[in-house]
């Protein structure tokens, strides 16, 4: 399979994943609790030095994810992505410090990733942003996240269209060098287009009164269920932190 086919296939999968991420599972709950919980568990996970504790945490989080309605397929897809990046650090660690450290690094990243997948896949993104805002995250940071999320769909779609239109005009076989040349020129054009598009998306938001602050229809009110969840997650994070050292 040549480079541009690989890229097309990746973009196509990315489009599917992004489309799915728009239809989040409706699990309810206060998004502020979910964000705080994800943060606490992540901090606990990265501080753990025993791989068995991390493995147990990963199993627990996976169980919660499955109960929340996230499919195994989706979980595996997320883990595969995380594994790719963790491997960059973990593979050299196998040779330098042994397999246990490598395993620890991989489990840390996968447990943290699962935690955030759980948040993102069960909470609409605008509510996550609103929760960050309620937790006093700077507006500039939230505005950038918000723009990125809105704009990434268009960017991926444009990249896909460009590659497809290129392919429709290619006759015969291209060499590896030709593919690389085509991809680099496509990347250059895409950069120019993406700047224009980011401008347009921002203008479309500003045109309807957006001034950097996220507003949503839902009101945040802590129910008993939310307090219980917050206490449980804090207890879990504390247990992981203490037993894992």
């Amino acid at each position: 399979m040549n480079v541009s086919r690989v890229l097309e296939s990746t973009l196509s999968q990315l489009t599917g994943t992004l489309a799915q991420s728009e239809t989040t599972l409706k699990t309810g709950g206060d998004p502020r609790v979910k964000v705080i919980g994800a943060l606490l568990v992540t901090v606990a996970a990265v501080s753990v030095r025993r791989w068995a504790i991390l493995a147990a945490l990963l199993v627990l989080l996976s169980g919660v994810a499955i109960l929340a309605g996230i499919t195994w397929k989706r979980l595996f897809a997320g883990w595969a992505g995380g594994l790719f990046f963790a491997a960059v650090v973990a593979v050299p660690a196998v040779f330098n410090s042994g397999w246990q450290l490598a395993l620890l690094l991989v489990l840390r990243s996968e447990a943290s990733l699962t935690c955030w997948m759980l948040l993102i896949l069960t909470t609409p993104f605008n509510l996550v942003l609103r929760a960050l805002q309620a937790l006093s995250v700077p507006t500039v940071f939230i505005a950038i996240l918000s723009m990125t999320f809105r704009y990434i769909f268009l960017l991926v779609q444009t990249a896909q269209d460009m590659l497809l239109s290129r392919r429709s005009r290619i006759v015969g076989r291209m060499t590896g060098a030709d593919h690389r040349r085509m991809l680099s020129s496509t990347a250059g054009v895409l950069l120019g287009k993406s700047m224009q598009m980011s401008d347009d998306v921002y203008h479309a938001m500003a045109s309807r009164g957006f001034r950097g602050e996220i507003r949503v229809m839902q009101n945040f009110e802590m129910a008993t269920r939310d307090w219980s969840l917050l206490v449980s997650v804090a207890a879990l994070a504390a247990a992981v932190f203490v037993t894992g050292r």
Binding site: E22, T23, S207
Partner: protein
């Protein structure tokens, strides 16, 4: 805000770097007027719409809205910015850039939410606006997954909920099938009962008489003509000069080829 002149452009210049998009434009738009901007690609129509929506500000010259000169500083004041955004709305040519919320419902509610309307009022207005455009059944759908015609209607709903006094439309029928085109045109023709100001940038000469009472023809950032749609549509030399019409060949049913305009 009692001036019947809604917009007043005085020697308006706007450039993208060294490329002039608008070059010394003078134009008045009155309340309740339905005006169409005609011109080839790059003639400055879309740029002018963005200036009218106060997304861009003039490089030089003046743009006034109901007598008030529009400046970036003025839009830093929240009260003025919200009042203006409520009264003047822009529907973008590409609905994909305008539809960025997870559901159609939230998309339509986006503007009022930004302007801090009470949530009860927003709920009522969203329901009414969706009903007005006959898209209530799309409320929970993801905007990106809609058809071109549906996206355009949602984009329209997302600004009509604000009940603007002025609506700016950039190629409202571009890339739509004939049925969707006619639905949008019919809606715009009836909307506001002639009390609203409708400014449309378009290439589409077929729908001109339905959407405008006055046309302004652009060429290279300048106005080269203006008048009633009927007069503009019958000035073939003008239309050819501004790349809105050209001679081309038609193949008839009998297989003969003839020149047409």
């Amino acid at each position: 805000m009692t001036n019947s002149l809604v917009f007043e452009a005085i020697n308006l210049h706007y450039s993208y770097g060294k490329i002039a998009a608008l070059d010394g434009l003078n134009l008045n738009i009155s309340q309740g007027e339905r005006i169409a901007f005609l011109g080839a690609n790059g003639s400055g129509k879309s740029t002018l719409l963005r200036l009218l929506d106060a997304l861009y500000f003039p490089s030089s010259g003046e743009l006034r809205y109901q007598g008030t000169k529009l400046t970036e500083e003025l839009f830093e004041e929240e009260s003025f910015a919200f009042a203006y955004r409520r009264e003047v709305a822009l529907v973008f040519q590409n609905p994909d850039v305008q539809l960025f919320c997870p559901t159609v419902y939230e998309e339509v509610a986006f503007g009022p939410l930004q302007m801090k309307w009470p949530k009860e009022v927003i709920r009522v207005r969203v329901a009414e606006t969706l009903e007005l455009l006959k898209i209530s059944h799309l409320a929970e759908r993801v905007p990106h997954q809609l058809s071109g015609g549906e996206k355009k209607k949602v984009a329209l709903a997302s600004v009509l909920i604000l009940d603007p006094k002025v609506i700016l439309l950039d190629e409202p029928c571009a890339a739509l099938d004939p049925r969707s085109q006619m639905q949008i045109i019919d809606f715009l023709a009836e909307w506001g009962n002639k009390s609203k100001t409708v400014v449309t940038a378009t290439h589409d000469l077929h729908t001109l008489e339905d959407i405008a009472d006055k046309c302004v023809v652009f060429e290279q950032g300048k106005i080269i003509a203006s008048g009633a749609p009927h007069d503009i549509l019958h000035d073939h030399d003008l239309l050819k000069r501004s790349n809105l019409m050209h001679s081309h060949r038609h193949r008839s049913v009998a297989g003969h080829v003839h020149q047409a305009e």
